[in-house]
Amino acid sequence: MSSTTGIDFSTLSLRDALDLAVLIEEEARDRYEEFAEQLELHHTPEAAKFFREMAGNEEKHRSQLAARRRISFGGEASTVTRAMIFDVEAPDYDEARAFMTVRSALEAAMRAEEKAYDFFAAAIPNVQDDEVRSLFEELRDEETEHKRMVAEQLEKAPADPEIDEEAFGDDPVSH
């Protein structure tokens, strides 16, 4: 579940829509970077490497959107802040797990891309401005493309070994 606070899509300007898109990519980049750090520390290098790549992708999208914003609106002040969005394209914090497989990492990324798709799809009917609608449709379609790319990688990813996760926990002594 993603959320926004204090954003009225019916009055959103193109400048603010671009700023919003930049912040969404920035949040996802930061989260993937955090996940990569966490997993590097917890001896899960393959998943960490994948999350690092995802952070790179999000940064690439962020910088492209930021460039479009700069070209169209220069240094005009933004009215959209990071506090207004939460978990739009970023994977949920509890998606990371020590010793997670690349497949699990890909599945987490897929869920994040699906969230982002759902976010733009849900916002579009509320948008009044034609340019903003066009931007959101473009971003929604990009999420479709990202989902396709993750799905492709998932097909190639090796199956998870059959390990009982409970085997790593400390159960009560009587059980």
Binding site: A83, F86, D92, D94, R97, M100, G169, P172, S174
Partner: protein, 302 residues
């Protein structure tokens, strides 16, 4: 520190602008991936950036436990102290240096079991401290024993047949002792949590924030972030009046059965802080105090 991009002369003398990353230390958290404390830490960074005081004016005191590692992950002064003793140490620090912004962090075991006796006195003394409890309802660092907020019936390594004890309700506990600011948050809503921590810091006096921060390794499935997102209810959406202590008590009883987030109680007429009383007492006594140069004469006989 991140300064404004418009570096005019006026901006050079204006208050510095901080970003959350300014409060992130180079030490990397070693919590289990998926731990709720990662989100809490982000909330703290955001709140500190909004407060706008530099790191050297902030001190973070903690006890022992997973969440008590938080001071090390910030650029503020930090003291990862001894189990259950964060509050007394923080009170001493605030007394010695009233200008410091003092934050206290710890877990539910640190705060309501071994350190439980200190909470009452911190509240009645009402020093200007912000106490953040990462309540995961388990002792996670020591591998999953019952904690004071563990639910009744819980099976753990120390309750193989299910806990027989009722959990402590941290919200009722602190309100019972007269805390003037009481809130509850979750890392399932980081913007909401950050705003709550900021409000707690700005509150003049002892402020308590209970943060239901899931333990990904020993916590129950229904206590995890994804579930929080589904079941949490914001007090403001329920029409809660945070200036009404009785209503706050009433809502706080839902701890353990419902996840209500937001400010339960904020005293609209905050009582004086211990620091302000100390200053007033000092001023009062100074009026009749002998002059410094006369003090020696009192001990010197002709």
């Amino acid at each position: 520190m991140t300064t404004s991009s418009v570096a005019t002369e006026a901006a050079a003398v204006a208050a510095p602008v901080f970003s959350p990353k300014d409060f992130k230390s180079s030490l990397k958290p070693i919590w289990c991936p998926g731990c709720g404390d990662f989100g809490v830490l982000q909330g703290i960074y955001r709140a500190l950036a909004a407060i706008g005081r530099p790191s050297h004016e902030i001190a973070f005191i903690s006890g022992i436990g997973c969440s008590s590692r938080i001071p090390g992950y910030t650029t503020a002064y930090g003291f990862n102290s001894v189990h259950g003793r964060a509050l007394p140490i923080a009170q001493g620090l605030k007394l010695a240096n009233p200008d410091l912004l003092v934050l206290v962090a710890g877990g539910d075991g640190d705060g309501f079991s071994i350190g439980g006796g200190h909470v009452a006195h911190a509240i009645r003394r009402n020093q200007d401290l912000t106490y953040l409890v990462m309540d995961n309802q388990i002792y996670g660092l020591t591998k999953g024993q019952l904690s004071p907020t563990s639910r009744k019936g819980l099976h753990t390594v120390t309750s193989a047949y299910g806990s027989l004890e009722n959990p402590v309700n941290p919200l009722m506990y602190v309100m019972g002792y007269g805390a003037a600011f009481v809130a509850q948050g979750t890392p399932a809503d980081i913007p909401g949590l950050a705003a709550m921590i900021e409000e707690a810091i700005r509150f003049p006096g002892f402020a308590f924030v209970n943060i239901q921060s899931p333990c990904v390794t020993y916590g129950e499935p229904d206590q995890q972030i994804k579930v929080h997102k589904k079941v949490m209810k914001r007090l403001e959406d329920l029409g809660h009046d945070s200036s009404d202590r009785v209503q706050a008590f009433d809502r706080a009883q839902s701890y353990g059965s419902e996840l209500l987030t937001g400010v339960f109680f904020r005293d609209p007429d905050p009582p004086p802080t211990y620091g302000s009383l100390i200053r007033a007492r000092k001023q009062e006594l100074m009026a009749s105090a002998p002059r410094r140069e006369d003090i020696l004469d009192m001990f010197v006989q002709d």
